[in-house]
Symmetry: C2
Subunit: 248 residues, 2 copies
Amino acid sequence: MTQSILPPASDAIRLAVSTVIFTVRRDGDDDRPSIALPLVRRTRDPHEGLWALPGGWLGTSEGLDAAASRTLAQTTGLAPSYLEQLYAFGDPHRSPTRVVSIIYWALLRADEVDAQLAARGGVPENVQWFDAASLPTLAFDHNQIVDYALWRLRNKAGYSRIAHGLLPDEFTLAELREVYEAILGKRLDPANFRRQIDVSGTLIPTESFRTGSHRPARLYRYDRDVELAEHGPLVAAQLHPLTESSTT
Amino acid sequence: MTQSILPPASDAIRLAVSTVIFTVRRDGDDDRPSIALPLVRRTRDPHEGLWALPGGWLGTSEGLDAAASRTLAQTTGLAPSYLEQLYAFGDPHRSPTRVVSIIYWALLRADEVDAQLAARGGVPENVQWFDAASLPTLAFDHNQIVDYALWRLRNKAGYSRIAHGLLPDEFTLAELREVYEAILGKRLDPANFRRQIDVSGTLIPTESFRTGSHRPARLYRYDRDVELAEHGPLVAAQLHPLTESSTT
């Protein structure tokens, strides 16, 4: 960063912060979970009436993480436990005026979504949840941003315990597999999946079972001694870190 | 991103782009390679006289990737073949005035550095290369930024072919191991390293050998059918993509 004495002619560039917040929910015909995210309907131009990612302008004396949390809470009423900076989108033509958007992403379990929305009295006006696999045309470059966030989620699922952020504390192997299926967008062989989980050594079996219309299924939990993800040197500077995981 | 009709009071926030560009070079007493990066001496306040990452202000009609390439070339004369967005640093107190810096990182082989600097007539004024392991106190939060970039480099080395970006087309296994040692900051057992490389299946032995004071060593090259890194959906939008690698 080089600073000149005179302010540069860059005051025409404005900074926004938006968040892609994924959850896994069951609402399809086949009762399989899918990835969903909340969007906010724009009530003014540009792109009035289109759906957009929740977000807002960066405050003059506000940090990036704080701005992401604030704008997400103000627009959707949601407060995820993990919030991670994803990417800065700055194409000069992505908006009628020059806006650089710093994008965060987060995971929130469906039961946390329900509890947080109930605590604030329901879903805010102009907010709606969409299936990530069948989005309408969004405002600005937000379709591209969601695609990028989904791609990162899929990559992370392969080498970290990211799926944990979408599951309750205790879950069956079938529920874990269905979260991976939702993230990866494909069916996984149950026997192969069980073997891979076994060798990973990250799950601890509990003495509890999920009962219901099917045969009772044992509940598992993640081994808390294994970090959800390696946090890296920015932890102290971040509000809710969830950074790259190590493969070593 | 929500846009209001009236401009927000955010024109006090300015956007800069800086680049951490790593190379591996041999200049220590033991002839082992180490990670090095170029820094630029600041010639004005704030932090006049301190070393800082190469960079500059984002142009009003300039994309982020283009700004990273331009400012890097203007300050250091370097043009890496890979340039990837790393992170946006936006703490309100990181600079006397409010500046959000979008950081890129790049890898450049030592022979490419030499060729590019020779083509422009030498190292530019106020530019110097530093060993990443023993930096002085840098301007702004640039020590923290370099630490973060080194952490990402180490993580990527574990699950991708990132080390390729620091090697010539053909190299010995010892040269490859020394690059990994420089990145990871520790010695690796040569026999174990050879076994891990064998099972990875990413190297192709050539019929050439490195000769010299030691016993001739076979040269290898990377299998070009294996992508350096999975590029993800932003490839078309990026000037020089080098994004997350998949582990599947």
